[in-house]
């Protein structure tokens, strides 16, 4: 049963909006979740390499990776290409107004482009066969099958999982001849990643400072603004998409960023774990799910809640062997303390996250010699003044992140790093 099967989407009428706003204020959500609670993410791999469905509640997204040998662009002759294509037509009945649908798919497309292409998460140089002549063109088709909010997270998880699951055949290039080896001749090769980005979505309401995480369509439509943050597993920010009309201060964004970073890391771990289990499954039996099985509920799916429950105790062991995550293990002690604090209770954690804020505001106020500006303005100014001078620092900052995080007064610097 899908609530949004009628012509008019949920969350478009005034009573719905008013109700969701007031419910958010009272910390109540329609599906009984807490403000910071996510829906379970279910992952399912198809028969082909790089076919994945992701479902979060009623939202369902299918991602399919395909490949081709093509010519590179003249600007980057030694890099393969990654093309992302979002198809939201499956749910175009959602709103009769073409504008919404167009805007929706544009936003989604740009988010995915920035998360996966601009952040250069794939090692595209490894996709080069012959410079200026032949490269691998990887294409990801994202099909939205049902929309019950938070398409952003569902599609980024689906894209990431599909790319990680994908295998391409090996090729050799001798005497201007490309030879593609079949699966029997040589083993298929996975794509090489530089980092693993995943997005986390928050809804902000004017009625409450507490943002709602993983919104449903009703909550999304009733929201004043939506913040989408993409983090990779090393907790580096890849994309920040904040729009809408709710006055969002730095405190809220930082609070979101902190939890989004943790969540992204857990999600990437979940995808890795699901991939491992899938590999085991493939080695054991020949039968793998087809498209119908993929969409059908009957198949046992990899559920985030179930997998990560087991994962918790062995988290440290699982992460350390991988060479890439060295930075991560360095950050570990500090991060654990954050987690402990947040577990200790929501209010203290919130306070702790924001304890640096007054200082930050004071600094900017001193710099600008302005007084009596409202808090929101202060927040905006913080963004405006800090972003430019620190831009150079940001790039260097990424590598220093581990060092920065070790002292307690790090948060202010981290804010500039993120903004």
């Amino acid at each position: 049963m899908f609530m949004n099967a009628n012509l008019f989407e949920p969350g478009k009428s005034k009573p719905e909006r008013v109700f969701v706003q007031s419910a958010a204020k009272q910390n109540t959500r329609f599906d009984g979740r807490k403000t910071s609670e996510f829906r379970d993410v279910k992952l399912n791999f198809g028969a082909d390499w790089g076919t994945v469905t992701v479902s979060m509640g009623d939202t369902m997204v299918l991602a399919q990776v395909s490949y081709d040998i093509g010519t590179p662009t003249s600007a980057r002759p030694n890099e393969g290409t990654l093309h992302l294509n979002v198809d939201i037509k499956g749910v175009s009945y959602l709103d009769e107004a073409q504008a919404t649908y167009d805007q929706r798919s544009l936003t989604l497309n740009s988010l995915l482009e920035r998360t996966f292409r601009s952040s250069r998460c794939l090692d595209l140089e490894s996709l080069c066969i012959a410079v200026e002549q032949h490269v691998w063109c990887v294409r990801v088709d994202i099909n939205v099958l049902n929309h019950d909010g938070n398409l952003y997270d569902a599609s980024t998880i689906a894209t990431l999982a599909a790319l990680m699951h994908f295998r391409r055949p090996d090729v050799s290039y001798i005497d201007d001849q490309i030879r593609t080896y079949s699966e029997r001749e040589r083993e298929l090769m996975p794509l090489l990643f530089l980092h693993y980005p995943v997005s986390v979505t928050y809804c902000v309401y004017k009625s409450t400072p507490q943002p709602l995480v993983d919104p449903t369509l009703l909550e999304e439509n009733a929201a004043d603004s939506i913040i989408v943050l993409s983090f990779n597993s090393y907790q580096e920010l890849c994309t920040l998409n904040a729009g809408g009309t709710a006055p969002t201060n730095v405190r809220t964004i930082m609070q979101c960023a902190h939890s989004a970073a943790r969540r992204s890391k857990a999600l990437v771990q979940f995808v890795r774990k699901a991939l491992e289990l899938d590999m085991e499954k493939r080695q054991q039996s020949k039968h793998v799910a087809g498209l119908i099985d993929l969409l059908d509920g009957s198949l046992s799916k990899f559920s985030f809640k179930r997998l990560m429950e087991q994962e918790q105790p062995m988290e440290v062991d699982a992460v350390q062997p991988s060479q890439a995550s060295r930075a991560e293990s360095e950050q570990k002690p500090e991060k654990m303390t954050i987690e402990e604090q947040s577990q200790a209770g929501q209010k203290p954690a919130v306070k702790d996250d924001s304890s640096w804020l007054p200082e930050g505001n004071d600094v900017t106020q001193e710099q600008q010699n302005t007084e009596q500006i409202v808090k929101e303005n202060a927040a905006k100014n913080t963004k405006a003044t800090k972003s430019k001078p620190n831009r150079g620092k940001n790039k260097a900052g990424k590598k220093q992140a581990a060092a920065k995080k070790q002292n307690q007064s790090d948060s202010e610097e981290e804010a500039t790093h993120i903004i």
Binding site: M1, N6, F8, P15, F19
Partner: protein
Amino acid sequence: MSSALNIVMPGERITAVEDVAKGKRIILGPGLRRVNDTVVASKAGPLKHREPNTFWVDNYQRRYVPARGDLIIGIIKAKSGDVYRVDIGSADSASISYLAFEAATKKNRPDLNPGDLLYARVLNASPDIEPELVCVNSNGKRGKLGLLQDGFFFKCSLNLGRLLLRENCPALKALTEKLPYEIAVGVNGRIWVKAHSAAETVGLANAILSLEQAGHSEIDKVCDNLGDVLQA
């Protein structure tokens, strides 16, 4: 009403109804159609019969087809000229005149804005023209019709709407024992509820939505669950 579950598919010739028709005059309800001398189903679902002579197919549907006299809930989409455009979940949007409200005159117009909810009656509906709504009865009084304020609003299947609108519906009765609430149900599969607190409203809405899948036997269970939820 016959309890025997007899599922028919669209295009299926229904001889059982034809047999009855030989003896007496019968009424074909929604989902049944007369083609020459045969009776053919046009929708899928259980065939229902009410004594003495009415037959219809109770199919699962979410798209509303307007019919004269229906009580529906609509969302104001826009003002245009001297009518409001209202979305009622049908293929075409409906219209309601400024003057179709209690005590409305040319000078004294009702103040409605896009997004507002309206409980209204369908004045006329035909396949060829836009459905028209009114918020007054023939005496010019509003009765229960008009703007719905506050509360929460959601959509469901037309079947669930009809189930709730049935005379002495067991579900609503059982819910009444648990908590006081206001409800407006449109036959277009739209429900508006209002209880004292947000938590109660959420519980109520979820309980009603869960009836969608539940059979008659499960209604009590759903209502009991609601009681537990509200106490917690």
